[in-house]
């Protein structure tokens, strides 16, 4: 066997290991039911902010804790403790992806991804007061 063949075999082995490694490192998208039936297991949970409930952020007490209520895609509501400072523009969020795990009756998230409306999507053309248009 040529040395290049040996190397190729090693490389293929590493490639397979990389695939397996990536899959085992990746978590899965879940709903609250699943996350709360496996307490302590890390999940990505997708949902929406429940706007009827208050959000609690008291930076004077702890700048790295933000509490709100989220409805998952099945409409199940849970209290979420986000262990980060309150994201800027949080109220505008349209969809939320939480990365975290269930602890007791709360979902403790260590990270959050938000999708805000109109950031990349088309709006419709709107008229503005011509006086507000700065002269070029």
């Amino acid at each position: 066997m040529k040395k290049t063949h040996i190397i190729l075999i090693v490389i293929i082995a590493v490639a397979i290991a990389a695939i397996v490694g990536s899959i085992s490192d990746s978590s899965t998208y879940a709903d609250f039911d699943e996350a709360f039936s496996n307490v302590g297991e890390e999940y990505h949970v997708v949902g929406k902010l429940n706007r009827d409930r208050p959000t609690i952020y008291n930076p004077k007490k702890n700048a790295d804790k933000f509490v709100f209520y989220m409805l998952d895609n099945n409409g199940i509501e849970r209290q979420v403790d986000l262990m980060k400072s309150k994201p800027q523009d949080f109220e505008r969020s349209e969809q939320i992806v939480l990365i975290g795990k269930a602890v007791d009756d709360k979902f403790v998230a260590r990270d959050i991804l938000m999708k805000c409306p109109s950031k990349y999507e088309d709006g419709t053309p709107q008229g503005v007061n011509p006086e507000n248009i700065p002269k070029a």
């Binding site: 700048a63 400072s85 800027q88 969809q95 990365i99 602890v103 053309p125």
Partner: protein, 805 residues
């Protein structure tokens, strides 16, 4: 009801559409002509091919210019213009709004192809026909992306010249368009605020031009396969290959610089999917370019060379698909919306993928075979190993980045790694370590066969030096992680071994210095990245020691800190004060002062102004600020702030903050000043106070140093009226909101009792801050510069060598 709209510039759309069609037809014409020129002996086809390509170039450049002109003049009657500019957008972001649209990006990419194609018409000689056939075929695809015509209910391309009112039926019914003068009221949607940053003016175009370069080696490789000239194509393709690697490399690094300067996560490289998407083709390209070298010198590794070079171009297409199809959606800071072009892009991708695989497979039998095994201690063997490691490294990144694509294809439900940095690092750091070792010693090997003892001797100096430095630096930085230590060692070995080679073997001659210098640069980048990231220190930790959350303690992070206006908090070696905010247009700037304490005085070191850019329509965007020093950077980011400014109440309410006995020289800390009891003396300086001869007055002179290190004097007086009763006279300072009362003297110790009160502001402004210190990040930037110089030198050397032969 027909309305005669006023002020529209319909000529622009008509001209634009004509040019789009011309550009497409000319590319098609060039393709046919060059194909005929390649396959027949009729020499009249080549001039026709040139004519077609030049016509296509002219049309595309005119489209480019016309769109820029329309953007600059805010022709909002066109959808593209309305979508990407607005009246209040500064002119400097013109290019950003140009490429923000997918059509603009394709145009820029296309522009790169055109520039290269025209240079190749001039220089490619006998390769021209076949190389330009490939170029023209790509340009047919590229210009079809702008067509915007419907064929069998499928839209082909997205035309940038569509009119808002006429070509978008959803919009046409809007009441706005009932007015003949609607243009007077119409403002564009404007540029995404994330992109209104100077790095964004140059980073994406550089990446796109780098992508354009990838077509050149690909076209030469296809031409080589087609012509059955498996070695001849390498020489003319090499300078373009190096140049492209350089340009794309700069582009990728600029992405890192942008992330470091303008994004909030604090760091240079966070394995963001879009940045990964541009890194993957670069890695494969570097691997392919090294294989081209083996091929040129020894004529082996043909299959691998062709595969990697073709793969580079295909990965460039894949990368564009990833970033432009919206498939990455929520996984990236970038993510662009889909224009419905993904299908077309995929078609394009698979066409070239299948063509490449088919051609390589078809020619496989024809490739010259070598029977003998490579010598173990030869340069080509280890270059080959290095190229494979680059490939596998790229594969790992591509696989993990493609998880959303895998979900789409297989209907799976995988979420990307929850901690991407840890995930990618766990693979890429070991790959990096092996690559750095290879970079270090391979230069010291000769092609074909090397005397092993001589080889050992020649690398021993670099090995020894790197080992000593690693022990020293590793100890100084307290690096405990074995991977970090290994990377520290190997990156220094790579730098030193190449520097050694440059000095001792090349004796500074520039003939082969390009690659050596580029390798020194790469090693330096790795060294800088390692030190700045592994030894970075979050200094905004909660030092108050209260309220560290017990719940979910493994998540509890301590990296953000609350800073009240005019409060001082120690952060690392600094004392940091939030001095308030300034609003200027759409920017709210937060003034954060950093002080260094020397003895008893606080000296202002620097001010940072992280800001938030307000944008009603697209969301507010915060941007950090960084102070650059030679040996470290201080990064400061406002992670949260209330954006509506509340006015302090008018009532001057005082709150007692200190009441104690003090002696001369004592210090008292107030919220916005440091008070020093300078002097206690008998007498009074204030002549407005009436005194009789029997009264005894004692003044406490207090120097109040504010955060601009300006001194204010506050002198409360203690008066003993007629030696019988006490009448303290309080002293005020409105500017600092301080009130000091001198109410007692301790006759035994001579200490005086002072009561310090501050104005109570109803609600004080505050920010949540994150501050990180990055040591030696300049090593990383230095590495980038060295690598670019090396690459440029390598291109220059190749061009000169090709011209001589």
């Amino acid at each position: 009801m027909d309305i005669n709209y006023v002020g529209e510039h319909l000529w622009a759309g008509t001209l634009g559409n004509l040019l789009v069609i011309l550009s497409f037809i000319a590319a098609l014409f060039a393709l046919v002509s060059y194909y005929k020129a390649s396959t027949t002996s009729d020499s009249s086809w080549r001039p026709l091919g040139r004519l077609g390509f030049r016509l296509h170039s002219l049309a595309t450049i005119m489209i480019f210019g016309l769109l820029l002109f329309m953007l600059a003049n805010h022709y909002f009657e066109y959808h593209f213009i309305w979508q990407h500019t607005s009246n209040d957008m500064p002119m400097k972001f013109l290019m950003s709004s140009f490429w923000e649209g997918q059509e603009g990006s394709f145009l820029l990419w296309s522009f790169g192809h055109i520039a290269l194609g025209n240079m190749l018409i001039w220089t490619a000689g006998k390769w021209e026909n076949k190389v330009m056939t490939v170029f023209s075929s790509v340009q047919v695809f590229m210009s079809s992306m702008l067509l915007g015509v419907f064929i069998l209910e499928h839209r082909i391309g997205s035309n940038p010249f569509t009119s808002l009112l006429r070509d978008h039926p959803d919009f046409a019914r809007l009441p706005l368009f009932n007015s003949a003068t609607y243009l007077e009221f119409l403002d564009g949607r404007g540029l995404n605020p994330l992109l209104q940053n100077y790095w964004m003016i140059i980073h994406p175009p550089t990446v796109l031009i780098g992508y354009s370069f990838a077509l050149t080696p690909f076209a030469f490789a296809i031409a080589g396969l087609w012509k059955k000239d498996y070695h001849g194509w390498i020489k003319p393709a090499l300078p373009w290959t190096y140049a492209g690697i350089g340009v794309l490399g700069v582009g990728v690094l600029m992405g890192g610089a942008w992330a470091y300067e303008a994004l909030s996560f604090g760091g240079f490289w966070a394995w963001d999917p879009v940045e990964n998407a541009s890194l993957v083709p670069w890695l494969i390209w570097v691997g392919g370019a090294h294989l081209m070298l083996i091929n040129k010198n020894k004529g082996t590794s043909l299959v691998a060379t062709f595969s990697l070079i073709c793969l580079t171009f295909i990965l460039v297409l894949y990368s564009t698909f990833l970033t432009r199809s919206g498939v990455l959606g929520e996984t990236s800071v970038h993510a662009f919306s889909d224009l419905g072009m993904s299908g077309q892009l995929l078609l394009y991708l698979f066409a070239y993928l299948i063509m490449s695989i088919a051609l390589i497979a078809y020619r496989w039998k024809d490739f010259p075979k070598t029977k003998d095994d490579e010598a173990l201690w030869s340069r080509e063997f280890w270059i080959f190993v290095g190229a494979l490691i680059l490939t596998i490294s790229a594969f790992q990144i591509a696989f993990s980045t493609s998880i959303p694509v895998i979900n789409k294809v297989f209907g799976s439900n995988l979420a990307p790694p929850a901690d991407p940095v840890a995930h990618y690092n766990s693979w890429q750091i070991p790959f990096g370590i092996v690559l750095l070792v290879l970079i270090g010693f391979t230069m010291h090997l000769k092609f074909k066969k090397t005397d092993f003892k001589k080889f050992l001797k020649s690398i021993s100096l670099a090995l020894a030096l790197a080992l000593i430095l690693t022990l020293g630096i590793g100890y100084a930085l307290q690096l405990g992680n074995i991977y970090y230590l290994l990377m520290l060692f190997t990156s220094q070995f790579a730098v030193l071994a190449n520097a050694d080679y440059l000095i001792r073997v090349l004796k500074g001659k520039s003939q082969k210095a390009g690659s050596t210098i580029a390798h020194i640069g790469f090693g330096t980048i790795m060294l800088g990245a390692l030190i700045s990231m592994s030894a970075s220190e979050v200094i905004s930790t909660n030092t108050s020691g209260v309220d560290v959350e017990q719940l979910g303690d493994e998540y509890s992070n301590n990296e953000n800190i609350l800073l009240m206006e005019n409060d001082t908090l120690p952060m690392g070696e600094y004392h940091v004060v939030y001095r308030g905010r300034e609003k200027e247009g759409i920017y709210i700037r937060f003034l954060v002062d950093y002080y260094l304490k020397e003895g008893n005085t606080y000296n202002k070191s620097f001010t940072l102004t992280p800001f938030v850019q307000l944008n009603e329509r697209m969301g507010n965007v915060p941007e950090p600020d960084t102070k650059h020093f030679l040996i470290n950077d201080v990064f400061t980011h406002v992670t949260y702030a209330t954006l509506e400014i509340e006015k302090p109440s008018d009532k001057e309410d005082y709150k007692e903050i200190e009441k104690d006995f003090y002696t001369q020289g004592d210090t008292i800390f107030a919220s916005n000043a440091i008070l020093v009891l300078e002097k206690i003396y008998r007498g009074i300086s204030d002549t407005t106070i009436e005194m009789t001869e029997k009264d005894i007055a004692i003044t406490a002179r207090i120097r109040a140093i504010d955060f601009n290190t300006k001194s204010h004097f506050i002198s409360p007086v203690f008066v003993l009226k007629e030696a019988s009763y006490i009448e303290p006279i309080e002293a005020l300072n409105d500017q600092l909101g301080l009130k000091i009362l001198f109410d007692k003297i301790d006759t035994e110790t001579g200490k005086v009792q002072l009561t310090v009160s501050e104005t109570k502001v109803a609600k004080k402004d505050f920010v949540i801050l994150k501050a990180i210190k990055f040591p030696f990040i300049n090593v990383l930037w230095l590495g980038c510069i060295i690598m670019m110089i090396g690459t440029a030198l390598a291109v220059y050397t190749r061009v000169i060598a090709n011209r001589r032969s």
